[in-house]
Each structure stands twice: as structure tokens, then as C-alpha cells.
């Protein structure tokens, strides 16, 4: 590929070059222009005249030094494999390729584009958008083989820019709606993030189209962008590998990434469960899904929630049980955006398993909670104690309440007892020595309040003596 007919250099070295205000010849788009956009469109083969460049409105050489202009860029492409789904990817390359031009700066995307041309490059002879069109066409064709035909249109006439603006906005909205609907099954690459490993050495964040990072800051699209810029950095691509269980979110590639990045501490993860092999939790999670065993449901609390939750513990205490890069069943760090995912905790029953949530969070994710359950989940206004919560859930016939009846019946058969249910029974064999008595036993706490900084129950071999 040759750029000999272009008056300025073209190359990767110019990426990241900024044209400062006092060095610029013109600004196209940018904060002073209300309407500007760039749009890639997939067309059919016969709709495109290959390598045609159209300029509607004043060209660079017609512009005054130091002036500002609106701008619209249309990149129309065709090819057997070119689909509308690729428009976003193609469009993002405009940013990259314009930045390859010496003395040209391109920032932002879509309806926010901001382009500057330096005085130096203008003086070197880069005085027409025709040149930019040629550069784009050559780079697109050589870097993306699927593009068989391409035509480029630049609009600088304010009225023309305004005319096509709404159509561009509609396109972006359609594309965003598609992106929200992007599912794990449709991609073959997930992204991993180890930014938090300094706090939680065995934590590996897995970012998929349907599972945002725990911190709520990194989408699958962010992962893709970051891994491309810096593939050896803390955000990296994870080949999905084989699907072990789509519903549970188990993939060989994810498990392998866990084994490698957690140095063997975590080897198997079900992305969509808070109980079974849950995704690890760093310290940065925006919210916690925590088990409330008394009602067999999950409570949710977010970082900004002040004071205690329904079980008497504030966010900070729950966070201590959750954080550190471990897999703790029933203590699960999550992001707010994950609550908007159709796969949100789906192994555990999804929203049907959620029994308590702060109002502020509920309002934020309201539209993503299935309508029939929305009013049956308690907030801090409805219940602040477990017994109030029980009553609320029973009254609203929350799905978890159905599960209790089964459990309560079982309880009565298995554990007939005096008084009410105010004890916790710990069944099972204890081979450890307790108070000098060995063998099978049952520990019963009656009306007990227990506080412990840490309880360690360790399995010891037979004949071990206390040291």
C-alpha cells in the first residue's frame, strides 16, 4: 500500500498525536458544533460505487484558518461477509485510521467526533478531504479483507449535516439495543481482568456480554477495547473454549483462565450462581448478594447503603465475608449492571430468589426486574428484621415462601422438638474431640446468641492430640 500521493506521512506513529489549539488549521465537529457524526453502513454490492469520494460543502482549502465546521462522515461498505453487525467495528476503525494521518487528530466517536488538522499539515499540502478519503479507503481495504467495495462521503455543509443527523442517531440507538441483547452464546471471546489482584490475589474477573465486571466499570466492549490496546495488560482476552453448561455459565476457557490467574486456587466457576462454584469476589464489587438462610433467599446491598441491612449487618461486615478473591457460597460480589442482565443469578432462581434490596438500587434496576416479582421484594421500608421480612414475603406470596412450606414440613418430620424453631441444629458426625467426648453427636444451641471473631472447624486425623 502506498501513500506517495498523500502530502503528509501516514503511520501508526501518529496515533496519540494531539493538535493543540494554537497549532490547528481547522476543527471539524468537536464541542463547539452541535451536530456531527460518523457512521459506517453495510450496503449491498450494487449500491456502492467502489472508491468513490464525495464532499458535500466546503473543502479544507475553502476554510478559513482557525475556523470551526460541522462534519458528517459516511463510510459505506459492501462485501459478501459484510453484515450490519459489523458496522460498529468498522466505524471504530475510522478513529484509528484518521489518527494515522500526520497532523490530524480524531477523538471520540459517533455523534461526538472531534477532528483537528494542524497548520503544518495543511501547509504541506493536505488541503482536501479527498486525501483523507483516499487514506481511509486504502486502509480499510487492506486491513479488513471482508470489505470488497467502499465509498466515503464527507459532509461539511451545515444544512446537509443537520438533515442526516437524525438518521445517524437512530442507527446508533438500534445498534445499542442490539448490544444490550448480545448474549454469551454469540461470542467466542470473553475478557478477564486482574486489576484487583493486588487486593485479592486469587480474584479473576470474568467479563462476558451478559456479565459486567464486579466493579461495574468494565463491559465486554471495554474489555475488547482494552485488550486490543494493551494485550499484555491487566485486561486480557479469554478464549471461551467449550461450553460445559450454558445455563450455569460454565466454560472450559474460563476455568482454565481461573486456574492460571489464581495460581491453581480456583479451578471451576459457574458464572451465574451465587451458591455453587460462584465467581470470585474482589474488594471492589458494587453490591453483595448475601444469603438470608432463615427465608432461603438472597438479600442485596450496595456500597453506598448506610447502616444495617435486614439481617443486622452493614455492607462493610458483609463485604468482609465476601471479599478477598474467594469463592464463598452465599456471599457474592456483583455489579449493579449485572442486575440488568437476563442471566442475573439464573442458576439460583434469578430475581425470584431475591427477597430484600435497598430502594435506591431497586429504583435503578426496576425495569429489569420481572414485573410479577417487582413488588414482592422487600426494601428497607418494608422490613428491617428477619421476622418482618418473613411476614412481608408470606403476605406478598414471594416465590421463596413456597419453598419454606416444603422445608417446614420436612423439618417437622425430621426434628420434632419442644418449643418453637429458635435453635440451630448442626447434624453430622464429628470426629473431632469435643469436651473429651468423641463420636457422633448433635450440637443444639437454645436461645443462643453467639459472637465470634472467627470460628475454625478443622478436620483432624484420628489419634491427633491437642497441642
Amino acid at each position: 500500500m502506498s501513500f506517495e500521493d498523500i502530502p503528509v506521512d501516514i503511520g501508526v506513529v501518529y496515533e496519540g498525536e494531539r493538535v493543540r489549539g494554537k497549532d490547528m488549521f481547522v476543527e471539524l465537529g468537536g464541542p463547539t458544533m452541535e451536530k456531527k457524526y460518523e457512521l459506517a453502513l453495510a450496503r449491498s454490492m450494487d449500491e456502492i460505487e467502489d472508491e468513490k469520494i464525495t464532499i458535500i460543502g466546503p473543502d479544507l482549502k475553502d476554510m478559513k484558518e482557525g475556523s470551526y465546521h460541522p462534519l458528517g462522515i459516511f463510510i459505506e461498505v459492501a462485501g459478501k461477509e459484510v453484515e450490519p453487525d459489523l458496522e460498529g467495528v468498522i466505524e471504530r476503525r475510522i478513529h484509528e485510521y484518521v489518527n494515522f494521518v500526520e497532523g490530524m487528530m480524531h477523538l471520540n466517536q459517533r455523534y461526538d467526533i472531534w477532528i483537528r488538522l494542524s497548520k503544518k499539515s495543511f501547509e504541506k499540502g493536505f488541503n482536501s478531504l479527498e486525501y483523507l478519503g483516499k487514506v481511509l479507503i486504502r486502509l480499510f481495504k487492506s486491513e479488513m479483507n471482508i470489505i470488497e467495495k467502499i465509498q466515503v462521503t464527507f459532509i461539511t455543509d451545515p444544512e446537509e449535516v443537520a438533515k442526516q443527523y437524525d438518521e445517524a442517531i437512530n442507527r446508533y440507538n438500534e445498534r445499542d439495543a442490539r448490544a444490550r441483547g448480545l448474549s454469551d452464546a454469540e461470542v467466542d471471546t470473553f475478557y478477564g481482568c486482574s486489576l484487583c489482584q493486588s487486593f485479592a490475589p486469587t480474584h479473576v474477573c470474568t467479563i462476558t456480554p451478559q456479565r459486567y465486571a464486579n466493579c461495574g466499570a468494565i463491559s465486554w466492549f471495554d474489555g475488547r477495547a482494552a485488550a486490543r490496546v494493551d494485550p499484555k495488560g491487566p485486561l486480557y482476552a479469554i478464549a471461551k473454549g467449550d461450553t460445559i453448561d450454558e445455563f450455569r455459565g460454565e466454560y472450559t476457557g474460563v476455568n482454565q483462565a481461573y486456574t492460571e490467574k489464581s495460581l491453581g486456587k480456583v479451578n471451576s466457576v459457574a458464572l451465574y450462581s451465587a451458591f455453587e462454584k460462584p465467581h470470585t469476589s474482589c474488594g471492589c464489587f458494587e453490591a453483595i448478594a448475601f444469603v438470608i438462610p432463615e427465608v432461603d433467599g438472597l438479600g442485596i446491598v450496595h456500597r453506598d447503603f448506610k447502616g444495617e441491612t435486614v439481617n443486622g449487618l452493614p455492607f462493610s461486615s458483609l463485604a468482609d465475608s465476601t471479599a478477598g478473591g474467594r469463592q464463598v457460597p452465599g456471599f457474592h460480589g456483583i455489579s449493579i449492571e449485572y442486575m440488568r442482565s437476563p442471566k442475573f443469578l439464573q442458576v439460583d432462581g434469578g430475581w425470584d430468589r431475591v427477597v430484600w434490596i435497598p430502594e435506591a438500587i431497586r429504583d435503578r434496576v426496576q425495569d429489569y426486574i420481572p414485573e410479577d416479582i417487582r413488588t414482592r421484594i422487600a426494601t428497607e421500608k418494608d422490613a428491617m428484621t428477619i421476622s418482618d421480612l418473613k411476614n412481608f414475603l408470606k403476605e406478598k406470596s414471594h416465590p421463596v415462601a413456597d419453598r419454606w412450606i416444603e422445608l417446614e414440613e420436612e423439618d417437622e418430620i425430621e426434628l420434632p422438638m419442644e418449643g418453637s424453631g429458635d435453635y440451630v441444629s448442626v447434624p453430622g458426625e464429628f470426629s473431632a474431640m469435643v469436651g473429651g467426648v468423641g463420636g457422633g453427636l448433635e450440637i443444639i444451641f437454645k436461645n443462643a446468641k453467639i459472637y465470634a471473631e472467627k470460628v475454625i472447624i478443622r478436620k483432624t486425623g484420628k489419634g491427633d492430640t491437642k497441642k
Partner: protein, 269 residues
């Protein structure tokens, strides 16, 4: 291509970091044609006044807004945040005739900023590569060192005044820089507002610690008055003692001529 240079000004609170930065800015813009980016990395934001610039937006408030729009689900799903952030920061950049200015400010709220901070570091690194000189006015604390926001700094200037605390802070800054493996090409000390005649003593003391005293900024009534009135220090008269002193320092640091600079960095002959 010319040498790109990142200079960071550190020291205990109140020793005169902002004054030093403002006066260096003045001298560099007046005496050289080099492109200069000045960054106020101290959330207190004193530097804008000293330079006489208005700050409509800070990097911190941009990051806070981004964080909020993420939480509200308001951000477009298929646009990468690094691209959004890069444009917004360029918008917050104040483009002056003589130098460009960026205020870091601070982030608010409790959410996690790991990712956002990482993006910021990359964006700022990239931005500063467009300038021959980047001058950073750091905050008084040492967190910025342990957070390694200083990692691409070539010259670390530590400002001390005539107090034991400032001196000890200087040594701590030096040690911490070593501990967190920030490799400055050069660490120098500036003495500010010392009584006359103390230069040699300070120089010897610092030399024993392996630190270079690169210059002294004397007490200056005009400067003190401007500070009191809140007037821009960049407008002090040309022959004010502080301005003259900083000019000498800038010369020694090689900010005004290439040869001294290369010598300082150990590259020239």
C-alpha cells in the same frame, strides 16, 4: 525529535510547591519555545490562581461523572469508556497561548475507581507525550508516590523550607520513591524562603544524603504580597528576586537549553 521531559514538584505541605511550579512555568514560557503542559495534581487546586487560569472542569469530576453514568446504566453499552474519557479529558484541557493546563481535582463517591484510574493514567501518559515539557504540581501527601502516578517522571523536584519537618519529608519522599521503584532520572532539591547564608549548610547536609541542591528561592516581598492578594504569580516583575532565582534553577535543570538538559540526563558529552 526533541527530548520529552516530565518534571514533578513534591514536598511537604506549605513549602512552596505551587509557587515553584508557577514560577517555572513563567520562566519556561518566557525563555524557551518549548511546548509546555502544566498539570495541577493537587486536589486543593491552588495552581490555577497562581497561573491566572480559570478551571471549568477537572479530570476528577469527569471521572466521577463517568462513574455515575455507569451506575445509572446511562452509558451506551457498545461504546468503550476509554474512548469517551479520552475526549472528555481533552475537552477539560485549557489551551493557552503559552502553555496548556490540566487540573486533576479529585474523584468523589465510594465506587471502585481501579479501572477508571487505569484509563486516566494511560490517557494522561499519552497526552503528555505531545509536549516537550510536562510540569506536575503534586499534592503534599505521599500517596501519589505509592500509587505510582509518578511513574513516568524524569526529574523529581523536592521543595523544602527552613523547617526540620520539610527536610525530613524530603528524605521520606526520596526513600519511598526507591521503595516503590519509581526510577527518576534525577532528584533535586530546591530551598525556599531560607534566611540568607544558609545555602552552603543545606547543600552539605543534602549531599550527605545523596541529594543535590539545585537552587534557592529567596524571600520576596512582591511575591508575598501577590500571594496574599491572590494575584497571579506569573505576573511578578521581571527582576523580582524569586523570578531571577527560578530562572537560574530552570537554566541548571536544562529547561532553557538542550545541552544542559542532556548533560543532566547523562546523555550528552
Amino acid at each position: 525529535m526533541r527530548e520529552r521531559l516530565v518534571i514533578s514538584v513534591s514536598g511537604k505541605g506549605g513549602v512552596g510547591k505551587t509557587t515553584t511550579t508557577a514560577l517555572l512555568t513563567r520562566i519556561v514560557t518566557e525563555k524557551s519555545k518549548r511546548s509546555l503542559l502544566v498539570v495541577d495534581a493537587d486536589p486543593v487546586l491552588n495552581l490555577p490562581r497562581a497561573l491566572g487560569v480559570e478551571v471549568p472542569d477537572t479530570v476528577g469530576s469527569i471521572a466521577t461523572r463517568l462513574r455515575k453514568s455507569i451506575d445509572d446504566g446511562a452509558i451506551s453499552g457498545s461504546v468503550a469508556k476509554q474512548d469517551v474519557l479520552e475526549g472528555e479529558i481533552f475537552e477539560a484541557l485549557i489551551e493557552g497561548e503559552q502553555f496548556d493546563f490540566l487540573a486533576m481535582g479529585r474523584t468523589e463517591g465510594e465506587g471502585c475507581y481501579c479501572f477508571v484510574n487505569r484509563l486516566l493514567t494511560q490517557i494522561l501518559d499519552r497526552l503528555s507525550q505531545n509536549y516537550e515539557i510536562t510540569l506536575l504540581d503534586m499534592s503534599a501527601g505521599l500517596e501519589h508516590l505509592s500509587r505510582r502516578t509518578n511513574r513516568n517522571v524524569d526529574i523529581l523536584i523536592i521543595v523544602v523550607d527552613a523547617s526540620r519537618a520539610a527536610y525530613e519529608a524530603a528524605l521520606r519522599i526520596r526513600d519511598l520513591a526507591k521503595e516503590v521503584h519509581i526510577e527518576f532520572k534525577k532528584i533535586v532539591v530546591i530551598g525556599n524562603r531560607f534566611p540568607a547564608g544558609m545555602e552552603e549548610d543545606l547543600q552539605n547536609k543534602l549531599a550527605q544524603e545523596g541529594l543535590d541542591l539545585i537552587g534557592m528561592i529567596p524571600n520576596d516581598d512582591e511575591l508575598a504580597k501577590a500571594n496574599y492578594q491572590g494575584e497571579p504569580l506569573i505576573e511578578l516583575s521581571r527582576n523580582s528576586p524569586a523570578v531571577l532565582a527560578v530562572e537560574l534553577i530552570a537554566e541548571k535543570l536544562g529547561l532553557l537549553s538542550d545541552t544542559t538538559l542532556l548533560k543532566l540526563l547523562g546523555k550528552g558529552s
